[in-house]
């Protein structure tokens, strides 16, 4: 193929349309320092043993790979349920703004948790619960109520009626059920009567109790727990007026009594002070996670250390380039363009010393020692080589001098 006719994905022999890593579809990859990965998985495995479900967090700077790591956890849990017996649900806690009532308080975060669980999952759990041998001849709602362990009797009864009445068969709309679950106002008329509820979810305690009870149901049905993968927790730094309510909600989730609904909280920043106060202060939540502010990094794994040495950055780049490459196409291109003395299929379109130069430049600033910046800069240099190649219809190799010219190193 003539260089003129190529798109960037042809020029770089990508196995995807863009020179990008997608946190969700590339979740099987874990880049960077393997020790950090091992620490994270070790914490998660211990949590399964001690707390029934993971209860921990991730911290890292902009672009360090927090979202990617959360999806990687989800991938591992899906792939290896024997070692990681929990179903993951991803949700973003941002934006949080106490100036806007719709965007603050636990009710808002509770809505996100319910959206993450979703109708399909609730239906599946209720239907599977109904198929359990011991439930076949029993009143489904009564059996559910007996499974629930959190909240008062009225809450258990109401939740059981809503789930059994609306999620077992797909014969009627679940809008009213969702309104009750979200603690939204029920439509006028006999909505509460139709739902069979005797109380609303009146406060954050009730909302958390409802979710924990759903967790009880999931455990009984599938033998697994639930893990909420909560991204962008730094937005909770702005919690002020609703501190007590949200702190108490997290405390309920963290409590030893809850062994079915776990969480992995990812927060932007560096160091212990980055954990939002609503979680860190008072330290009763941390103590339930088995840490204090002094050894907080045992529960909140710091992703800054994913790339803690230049060699980590180079190995990140090597893994990345290999992962996004179509080997067959790359080998064919190297042969067609007679580039074997300059390039390998893994590194194309970069020479080996160009990649060392990239590492040298990016390592010189803390701001560029993160996954996102590395990917952005490699993509930028590759695109520059591609466009230069198109000008002359020649394959331009991104060598050390080319990297310097694009990245501004002298």
């Amino acid at each position: 193929m003539e260089v003129n006719d190529m798109e960037l994905k042809d020029y770089c022999c990508l196995n995807r349309p863009r020179f990008r890593v997608n946190p969700e579809s590339d979740a099987e990859w874990f880049f960077g320092n393997k020790q950090v990965n091992e620490e994270l998985l070790s914490r998660i495995r211990k949590d399964f043993d001690i707390r029934g479900v993971p209860k921990c967090g991730l911290i890292g700077r902009f672009g360090a790979g927090k979202t990617h790591t959360l999806y990687h956890i989800k991938y591992l849990f899906d792939r290896d349920p024997d070692n990681y017996p929990a179903t993951c649900f991803f949700l973003r806690l941002a934006p949080y703004d106490e100036k806007i009532p719709d965007l603050s308080g636990w009710k808002y975060l509770h809505g996100k948790v319910l959206d993450a669980l979703g109708e399909d999952f609730l239906r599946q759990i209720v239907q599977e619960f109904d198929r359990l041998p011991e439930d076949r001849t029993a009143d489904l709602s009564e059996e559910m109520k007996n499974t629930f362990r959190f909240g008062d009797e009225n809450l258990k009864r109401s939740l059981a009626n809503v789930l059994a009445g609306y999620f077992l068969r797909e014969t009627k709309s679940t809008i009213s059920a969702w309104q009750w679950l979200r603690e939204s106002k029920l439509e006028k008329g006999g909505a509460a009567q139709d739902l069979g509820v005797t109380k609303a979810l009146e406060n954050a305690n009730d909302m958390v109790a409802a979710v924990l009870n759903i967790g009880n149901l999931v455990r009984k049905t599938t033998g697994k727990g639930i893990t909420l993968l909560m991204d962008e927790a730094q937005s909770l730094k702005d919690v002020e007026k609703r501190h007590i309510e949200i702190h108490d909600a997290f405390l309920q989730l963290a409590d030893d009594d809850n062994q079915d609904v776990g969480f992995v909280i990812a927060s932007f920043g560096e160091g212990p002070q980055i954990i939002p106060n609503v979680i860190a202060k008072p330290d009763d939540i941390l103590s339930r996670l088995g840490v204090t502010i002094q050894n907080i990094d045992e529960a909140f794994i710091n992703l800054m250390r994913l790339i803690k040495e230049e060699s980590d950055m180079r190995s990140f780049i090597d893994d990345l380039l290999q992962g996004i490459k179509d080997r067959g196409k790359a080998e064919q291109l190297i042969s067609e363009k007679d580039l074997a003395d300059k390039l390998t299929w893994q590194n194309l379109p970069f020479t080996d010393d160009a990649l060392n130069e990239v590492v040298d430049i990016l390592w010189s600033s803390e701001l560029t020692r993160n996954a996102r910046m590395i990917i952005n800069e490699l993509a930028r240099v590759a695109a520059a080589a591609y466009h230069k190649g198109k000008e002359t219809n020649e394959y331009v190799v991104a060598d050390r001098a080319f990297v310097d010219s694009v990245m501004g190193h002298h």
Binding site: D5, L8, F19, R20, A94, N376, A379, V406, G408
Partner: protein, 172 residues
């Protein structure tokens, strides 16, 4: 309707003026993407191209512009000169371009305009229509996708030529 469900608005008039009025007031802008076949200097309009580039420079906003070449479309000549004079702008030409996409990534969430209006004075008066998308709820992924269209997809197509690579390294 919940807050994050209100992420899209049909824009019947004002087009890109509405978008750029928001852009100049936005905070912590991480990037600006403008994809428009025809771009003029907008002299005499409420916001001229110089005003927009002043905001780009002031906020050090990494900016990607894709337009048709001024050799093919002489109307683009003044705008092209202004873009080449701005070190924050990465400029591409694509003469097959017909899409009109405007994306601003900022705090607390970005926004995008997808519509029929070119970035020209005529578009402020002609009958145009567009969708203003807020990067919240389901709009978050749409704004991100539109940004990637402007920063990754169209630039790396066969018919697109790089004219100027931003001379400033981006940390965002």
């Amino acid at each position: 309707m919940r807050w994050e469900h209100r992420f899209i608005t049909v824009v019947r008039e004002g087009g890109h003026t509405l978008f750029f009025e928001r852009f100049v007031q936005a905070v912590e802008v991480a990037s600006l993407v403008v994809v428009s076949p025809w771009i003029q200097s907008l002299e005499g309009e409420p916001l001229s191209l110089k005003d927009i580039l002043w905001s780009v420079n002031k906020g050090k906003v990494p900016t990607t512009i894709i337009m048709r070449s001024p050799e093919k479309e002489p109307l683009n000549r003044d705008a092209a000169e202004l873009f080449v004079g701005c070190p924050l702008v990465t400029l591409y030409y694509n003469n097959d371009l017909h899409a009109k996409i405007y994306v601003c990534r900022c705090q607390p969430f970005g926004f995008a305009l997808l519509g029929s209006a070119n970035l020209s004075g005529r578009a402020t008066r002609a009958l145009e229509v567009g969708l203003l998308i807020e990067g919240k709820g389901a709009g978050c992924d749409i704004v991100e996708e539109l940004e990637l269209l402007g920063k990754d997809d169209i630039p790396n197509r066969k018919g697109t030529n790089l004219i100027q690579l931003s001379r400033v390294r981006h940390f965002g």
